[in-house]
Symmetry: C2
Subunit: 207 residues, 2 copies
Amino acid sequence: MDFSNNTIDRICRIFGYLTVLEKKGIDFISSKELAEAIGATEYTIRKDFSTLNFKGYTRRGYAVKSLKNKIGDKFLLNQKRRACIVGLGRLGTALLDYEKFQEDGFEIIAGFDISINKIERIQTDIDVFAISRLPDIVKSKNIELGIITVPGEAAQKVADILIKAGVKGILNFSPAKINVPQSIVHLDKDFTSALRFIAARFMVERK
Amino acid sequence: MDFSNNTIDRICRIFGYLTVLEKKGIDFISSKELAEAIGATEYTIRKDFSTLNFKGYTRRGYAVKSLKNKIGDKFLLNQKRRACIVGLGRLGTALLDYEKFQEDGFEIIAGFDISINKIERIQTDIDVFAISRLPDIVKSKNIELGIITVPGEAAQKVADILIKAGVKGILNFSPAKINVPQSIVHLDKDFTSALRFIAARFMVERK
DNA sequence: GTATATTAGTGAATAAATTCACAGATATAC
DNA sequence: GTATATCTGTGAATTTATTCACTAATATAC
């Protein structure tokens, strides 16, 4: 079966929220509360779950642990995913040891940069390499995800290298849109577009 | 008139692409090429422009400069927006002098953190302050946008402070969803959800 | 100057996503 | 034990978004 991006997006947010609930020791959660927590409606969430065949309990809602496991199983979110970061500027190094990633099931295995100087200067526990070694290392370390934090001009080239090396997904923080074959999942997330969206949105609201 | 988030999102991406085209000295661009560049279809883009009353030229497409100006005018994207960053951990400091922001019409006016120590250690040209001074500074410096880069636990509190201080939009990079009044535009953009989305998506594709 | 190919513009058709409305189940109150 | 309130589950209705299909305009080729 195939799910829409919207559904998958909601499911990922729900997964994150379930993690929080689990930590708090909460056992059941209603569609209404979930909706509230992730910014959706109770209808949509029940519809999503209905499609996915996740069942709840009348007057109690959904069992947090079990739901989290089901989502994790279905979308393979409860196994560690191996990622690398390409481009060790400020953003790249910030992400290198962004603790949350590790916590949330993503392991940053390596960082890459074109500048040897930069690599020598970086202080981190993660291994960093010249980009020339990327293909080799992605393959040998079984890295599945590439995170692009290079400047826009270099993004496409980096994407091509990553794909050739065998990653299956790419998260692109550079301002340039990248072209990838259909089989590769990718997401363009540049900050400027995000900020512009807010600016545009609130300017429109105002009227 | 009111535009959908999808439309506004596309328009923001188009705006970014037009900036690139302008730099390259390209004068005209077709809906097809625009679509390709931002990851949409030519139909949608023509529809968007039709709704927005942006006109093109038969067999030549849209005039880059003029289109960019029209979008900029309509969505107020060609005036500088003043923003601040709250939470000067690795991500926050990385964003503090993310050069692209300045280039793209966003001016980071100040950074805030709860830890005085951290503030003293930070090396940047941007002014940094204790969070207690936020209300005061947001008001006096006319800051319109807040960027939240604190840990999840603190996100809501920071959002409340920002809103009370008078910002009109919030970009939240923390993993927690924040609740804001309807009049405030906000966007939750946590990296983990983004990565999860990719992971989930490629796992679904695979089947 | 004429034919041709390309590109915008847009109402109509289609598809996708969300919401509604209500039946079914069951905890809770009394 | 009965009534009531609450919550899920899901077809149907509605709304929203996208794509199609075609007209009109005009650069370009020859």
